[in-house]
């Protein structure tokens, strides 16, 4: 199975095939007959193993948003090639990302500066509260991607550290 979706932190492998009356969904633990009919009001009729319900869905890029059973969910389609590439990418600790949307209140470092683990890199504001972002490891600041006053979304890349395996292991 080379298709996969990510939901929350989990990845699910699956495959889809055609049947005379619809489709068949193949999961790790078995296969089920499925179908999806888009309705004129923008909702859709989802049928799984003969049981149907109305759901609402929308897509955006590789994201599929689904409102089902009174709750909303987001699934991301994982392209087979990207999944391979992700496995060979650099350490996440080289990138300091925004834990939540917000704006930059104070910047304590500049490119080229050495920092030690736990040192304050910047202060951001979100939900009317300040959050201090600290260095995930010892290292040298490679780039700062936002200026004070700018706003960003969750997971935005705020700062990059120079990849330096030796520095990262200092006590």
């Amino acid at each position: 199975m080379h298709h996969a979706f990510k939901l929350e932190e989990n990845e699910y492998n699956l495959e889809l095939s055609r049947t005379p009356v619809g489709y068949c969904l193949h999961l790790a633990d078995g296969s089920v007959p499925v179908n999806l009919n888009l309705l004129s009001d923008g909702s859709a009729l989802l049928t799984v193993s003969g049981s149907s319900e109305r759901i609402l869905l929308a897509t955006r890029g590789d994201d599929v948003f689904i409102h089902l059973g009174g709750s909303a969910y987001q699934l991301r389609y994982e392209h087979p090639l990207q999944r391979l590439a992700a496995q060979s990418q650099g350490a996440a600790e080289d990138h300091v990302r925004a834990p939540m949307p917000g704006s930059l209140v104070a910047l304590h470092v500049e490119p080229g500066q050495s920092v030690t683990r736990g040192e304050t890199l910047l202060v951001m504001e979100s939900m009317k509260m300040e959050t201090t972002i600290i260095a995930p490891r010892d290292g040298v600041i490679e780039a700062v991607h936002f200026a004070v006053g700018q706003t960003f979304d969750r997971d935005a890349l705020l700062l990059s550290l120079e990849a330096d395996a030796v520095e990262g292991k200092k006590p």
């Binding site: 298709h3 939901l7 709750s71």
Partner: protein
């Protein structure tokens, strides 16, 4: 017809009578200096009265429903979208250019800015709200507290920095722990900090001062006794320029996160009729003392145990004055649903110089109403704000269901504004009927593209303590399991994966490209 939900509010005959009198009001056109759901809410009444509704908007809100609903919409600019809505000069220019005779500030932004209220009057326009002096009095939390205490109403033990800055920390210690540090110029929970031990006091004072300085341009502080497990109960008041002041009962707003309300309801499950009357009359008394004009809300901290200085009611209950908000509240709809009064209509009537449309004994309460704030936030991740496009939106409908929404499909939810997207107000003949209807309505509330708190609100509704009405402002912190994302059951997971696979082109196309062989094998193997 100003029909809100499926219950006409106000009564059609009151609307018709007010509408004909509005023909001779000193303003025939109202500019709304706000955005989102409250701009829509105000427009609805303005237009129902036959008045012209004008809105200002930042480009980030171009697709917002208030802009398309208004009789005229004027774009304003700013260094940030929020700055545009705080720019009094541009807003006044828009009011004059559009011929508006009055400005309704909504809540937040310029609504409690005395300087703005003065500038509106100086421009020859009417500010739909209290006088600048009343805004100033209640906006300075320290002065407001002293004013209320002087009137003989209950306030919590406290220490005020301004009384003698040199001894502030010492006097704060004397108040006792736990205590709450608040900015003198604050509101909305900004810059507030709970301190439980003397060792933390100094550091927390410095932090609160820095936040106060940044949010309000004023670093002055005060501390007061923190009532453990308190309820937040507030009372709606209305006053006019003829000296009339009435209350419209209380709202219980105890379900909060980070000092901000999530669910509000009326009546409060904590009050019996004697206590209810007492807290409501206290609020009306405070407003009357201030000669209060227009809509306002008196907030109280309500505790189960007795403490010195508190007004005691049934059992050991106590309540203290917290603050007065000199504007329409976010949660005003629950009051409208149980009293049948249109608060925006009364605000406009008072602003036009008329007396209130009713007396205290004509304000009756019937049924139960609960408001749920629909936030763009992820409860399971510490209620952090979420962003994203509104790809699809379906609002709930049904008996007792009202939705005050500020979003439409095609809009983007950004970090530029407060994360509140809409309000769901559900009413029933009693609290349990309202809760049952609310669960259905929350399940129907579908927004795709941006995470909202509707699933969290449904979990909250099903929590036994909420069902029993046993809530306090620390309720969600005490029950983190409500915010946690529940485990997905296998049947739901299967359905989600089926829908996602069938909606994803590479998968569906892949399956469709080998139809004959696969289909043949499929039917064969079945």
């Amino acid at each position: 017809m100003n029909s809100i939900g499926n219950k006409p509010i106000p009564d059609p005959s009151i609307l018709a009578a007010t509408r004909s009198r509005a023909a001779s009001w000193p303003f025939r056109s109202v500019l709304i200096a706000n955005r989102g759901e409250i701009a829509v809410r105000i427009l609805r009444t303005v237009q129902a009265l036959g008045l012209r509704g004008v809105v200002v908007y930042h480009a980030a809100d171009r697709k917002a429903p208030a802009v398309s609903m208004a009789d005229q919409a004027i774009e304003i600019t700013g260094a940030t979208p929020v700055a545009a809505y705080l720019d009094a000069k541009q807003i006044l220019a828009a009011a004059q250019a559009s011929g508006a005779g009055a400005i309704h500030p909504g809540y937040g932004f310029l609504s409690e800015n005395a300087g703005f209220a003065r500038a509106v009057a100086a421009a020859g326009l009417i500010f739909v709200g209290p006088t600048p002096e009343q805004i100033e009095l209640m906006g300075d939390k320290v002065r407001a507290r002293a004013f209320v205490a002087k009137g003989g109403f209950p306030v919590a033990p406290s220490a005020i920095e301004d009384d003698d800055p040199a001894t502030f920390a010492e006097r704060a210690l004397a108040v006792g722990f736990p205590l709450l540090i608040k900015p003198a110029a604050g509101g909305g929970g900004k810059g507030m900090r709970i301190v439980r031990e003397a060792a933390q006091l100094k550091g927390e004072i410095e932090r609160a001062r820095s936040e106060g300085q940044r949010y309000f341009g004023d670093g002055r502080l005060y501390v007061e006794r923190y009532v453990e497990n308190p309820r937040h109960i507030e009372v709606q008041v209305l006053g006019d320029a003829h000296g009339n002041v009435v209350h419209l009962f209380e709202r219980e707003c105890s379900v909060q996160r980070r000092f901000q309300k999530i669910v509000e309801e009326t009546p409060s499950p904590a009050l019996d009729s004697a206590l209810r009357q007492r807290i409501c009359e206290t609020a009306a008394g405070i407003a009357r003392n201030a000669g209060y004009c227009n809509a306002g809300t008196v907030e109280f901290i309500f505790g189960a145990g007795g403490a010195p200085g508190a007004a005691s009611g049934a059992g050991n209950a106590e309540f203290y004055f917290l603050e007065m908000n000199t504007r329409l509240q976010v949660e005003h709809p629950v009051t409208e649903m149980i009293t049948g009064k249109d608060l925006v209509l009364e605000q406009l009537r008072v602003a036009a110089g008329e007396p209130l449309g009713f007396t205290q004994d004509q304000v009756l309460s019937s049924g139960h109403s609960i408001e749920f704030r629909i936030y763009a936030e992820d409860a399971a991740r510490g209620y952090t704000p979420t962003t994203g496009p509104v790809l699809a939106l379906r609002l709930p409908q049904g008996e007792g269901v009202r939705v005050d929404s500020g979003i439409v499909e095609g809009q983007d939810v950004t970090a530029a504004f407060d994360p509140m997207l809409a309000k769901l107000i559900v009413s029933g003949k009693d609290r349990s009927e309202a809760i049952v209807r609310a669960d259905q309505a929350l399940a129907q509330f579908a927004l795709l593209g941006c995470v909202t708190n509707t699933a969290f609100l449904r979990r909250l509704l099903k929590h036994q303590a909420f069902i029993d009405g046993q809530v306090h402002t620390g309720f969600l912190d005490a029950h983190p399991e409500i915010a946690a994302q529940p485990e997905l059951n296998q049947a739901t997971l299967q359905r989600l994966l089926a829908a996602a696979a069938l909606m994803t082109r590479p998968m569906r196309d892949g399956a469709d490209q080998v139809p004959d062989l696969h289909a043949a094998i499929g039917s064969w193997s079945n």
